[in-house]
Amino acid sequence: MTTYEPAIHFKDVRYSIDGNPIIGPITGSFPAGQITTLVGPSGAGKTTVLKLCNGLLSPDAGEILVEGRPIGSLEPTALRRKVGMALQDAPMVNGSVYDNLALPLRLRKKELSETDAVSWLEDVGLPADYLHKKATELSGGQRQKVSIARTLVNHSDILLMDEITSALDRGSKREIESLITRINEKYGTTIIWITHNLEQAISIGDFTWVLVAGELVETGESRILEKPADERVRRFVKGELQ
């Protein structure tokens, strides 16, 4: 069996809000250059895990290593550029598609050339004439594509996807899935992807983390979802845990 360097490693990580434990203790790795899906019932702490990965949250206890370095030693803005995140509802800033694509660079007082912007758009399967469309005029699938392209502008080594296909129709879902696979293959980007769809988790993911009530109950290659060892995972796969 091939072993992979961990892109992100959690060691006894705990996180709580006002004394109520949300996750942990969690110990596990997201293999570099691979697609890991994060599945589990609602409220399992999946989004919390993503936010811990790019420093939008900090753990109460334990250690998170990003490419071998303690997360606290990385400057927050540099960390978030390295570990990019596409949010569930793909929020857009006011203005055109170009304004949204240029946003990551403008935050660093740089500009994105139109040629580069078109190339990012084409990378996510959108035609060049979308560049000057208003972001508010985009469909759900197009918003998600622009959101992914906007995250790519930062040349992140690790991409976090928070249920980016949950509100999309079957066609758009397939397009986004093949887009993520392409990004992973083309740039060798590590992908960590929250999904509710187990079929998607098995077909897209190389590896899977199953979270239940803030605990990492099973982890390994995605096919573990076909024959789960843990009773809670079996119930989740059967649809008894939502």
Partner: protein, 252 residues
């Protein structure tokens, strides 16, 4: 005004009381409390002002202004509980605005440095700064709540807290200062300002009353804009920690 004439003004309190009673509006208690409080507070202030004017001491003037600021901060702080240390931020804002405006007025000799001018003008500046602080805090906290995902988006793309709140901050500053600017556009057409009306009733020359009113209007313009901006830039850093994380995150 004779004591009898003053007593007769209570008719204007009796009218709402009777209407409230007849229509079961339930406003009697609050109306009575408001009436008694305004009588006691205004007379108390009147006698204190008389004492301060007679003594002509800067210490008493400063004490009066400190009292006004204390009351204004106490009132405005209730609206910004979500922002840590808001009382100190409002105090710093109001003091800065008071120092700036009085500095210009007294420094350029626009008004004489006497209690008769300093105290009423300070009252208007501090009161206006308090109202603006409340308007700003109301708007800013609701903007932050409504556009939480926008804040999170900018942070997740590697933006700083200042960049993450920029739109919400400028929207709140604009929204809180617009009423002051708009009301100045119709000033004199829709309503005669209170201070000007008071001066005219007291027998002052209307043109001189207008000159003083203009001074106050321009002063309040600065007060409004500076209060909102200053409070805005003092407030937003408290919403983030040293790791540039929004404090009190919501999670799945």
């Amino acid at each position: 005004m004779s004591p009898i004439a003053l007593s007769l003004t209570l008719i204007f309190v009796l009218i709402p009381l009777l209407l409230s009673r007849t229509l079961n509006l339930g406003l009697e208690k609050d109306t009575l409390i408001a009436t008694v409080r305004s009588i006691v507070q205004l007379f108390a202030v009147g006698y204190i002002l008389k004492f301060v004017f007679d003594s002509d001491s800067y210490i008493y003037i400063l004490m009066m202004i400190a009292l006004m600021i204390f009351a204004a901060v106490h009132n405005a702080s209730k609206k910004g509980k979500a922002i840590p240390g808001i009382s100190w931020k409002i105090t710093a804002t109001i003091i800065a605005v008071e120092v700036l405006t009085q500095g210009i007025l007294l420094g350029f000799g626009i008004v004489p440095a006497t209690a008769q001018y300093i105290i009423p003008i300070s009252g208007m500046v501090v009161g206006n700064s308090m109202v603006l602080s409340i308007l700003f805090l109301n708007r800013f906290t609701s903007e932050m709540e409504t556009h939480r995902n926008r804040t999170e988006l900018i942070l997740s793309l590697g933006g700083t807290p200042k960049q993450a709140v920029h739109t919400q901050l400028t929207d709140a500053i604009k929204a809180s200062t617009i009423p002051t600017i708009e009301s100045q556009k119709t000033m004199g057409l829709v309503q005669l300002p209170g201070m000007m009306s008071g001066q005219i009733i007291a027998g002052a020359d209307p043109v001189q009353a207008v000159q003083f009113q203009l001074l106050i209007l321009f002063l309040l313009l600065t007060t409004a804009v500076v209060s909102s901006i200053l409070l805005g830039f003092l407030s937003y850093p408290s919403l983030f920690n040293e790791r540039m994380q929004l404090i009190r995150q919501s999670n799945d």
